[in-house]
Amino acid sequence: MSAPVYYEIYRRATIGTTLADALDSLITDQQIQPQLANKILNNFDRVISDLLKSELGIAKSKLTFKGDLHTYRFCDDVWTFIIKNVLIKLTDVSNSGDMLNDNELSVDRFKIVACNARKAGEL
């Protein structure tokens, strides 16, 4: 039985790109080998996927959005959407109950890249 496979999608988030940049600079300075950098990125995939799951409860917020769907694409089990004139609402429920913290943002263009939830951490 092989180890669980984790998506690499979160590497594109700021927390991932900054890690990749930091690893790159260590490789450039010849302080580490690229193979080690790859292992660290795999560690990152696992850590962030696990932490985002509800049981661990750091990310509790709910986000809703409404807009004009401009482009949709489904390829290799990955959905990509480009939505225009979006109103995004984030409900921060981290202060459990006392005060729901609603925030709204308007964005004229927004891209969503989503992997299939059913495969995450499985296989």
């Binding site: 999608i9 979160y10 594109r12 988030a13 700021t14 927390i15 900054t18 940049d21 690893l23 600079s25 260590l26 302080q31 580490i32 080690l36 660290i40 560690n43 990152f44 850590v47 962030i48 932490l51 985002l52 509800s54 750091i58 990310a59 509790k60 917020s61 709910k62 986000l63 809703t64 959005f65 409404k66 807009g67 004009d68 769907l69 401009h70 949709y72 489904f74 959905w79 959407f81 480009i82 984030l90 921060d92 981290s94 913290n101 925030n103 709204e104 943002l105 308007s106 964005v107 004229d108 263009r109 927004f110 891209k111 969503i112 890249v113 989503a114 992997c115 299939n116 939830a117 995450a120």
Partner: protein, 257 residues
Amino acid sequence: MLTSGVVVSMSNAEATKLYETIIEEVISDSRQDFEDSGIDESTLQELRRVWCEKLSQSGVAKFTWDDEIHHENLGHGHLSVQESMGVLAPDGLLALDSSGGLELPTLSYPTATGDRGHSGGMQLQLPTVLGNDEYDDSTGLMLPRVNQTDGQFELTFETSNAKQLMKKFQVGQADGEFDDDDDSAHDSQDINSDLDDGSDSDKSEGEEGYQEGQIMLCLYDKVQRVKNKWKLTLKEGIANIGGRDYVFQKASGENEW
């Protein structure tokens, strides 16, 4: 690009907490991998330090280590703005409309490769401007000319009337962020004006006009379509909106195609 009426301070404390937890776990989980490759602990700590630093520079959230990094970076030539500080454009000369003020010497600040840049930092502490009745309504400061085209440079002023001082400073900053409502000074800066411009035409890359930021990375539970209405049920994601990162457990959207 954000439209008007945006709540700039939408809370993203969860992103801060998540990111800081990720860093701690990735670093501790990677210790064995470093050992197995014969790389010592100091390199692992270097990775952590650079990672934190780059995250802070991204400005996507406020981190608990931000203050430390500020001080560490003094020697690396960073221009940053905090309360009661002034900012200079690369070629900027900021003169305050006052007579009899202080004039600081012209600085030739070392570039990134400069030896002096790493030696304990360069910090200018301007003398306190004492409340002298004659200069009551002026701060009497003339900012130094800094020959610096990149990075950050930090100035600390001590003054009894910080607010007044801030009003007198015109901000001509070509990059980075500065929380000032007055954007008029940016108009005179043609450097980086393309970068500040959020229009798709400048940032387009490929057919779909990919632009950095304004992206959500997540998992999908369901994607349903009825006629031209699309209902998306998403979860466990990170979204970059208006230069800040937000994390969420669940997300849903209804959009018309």
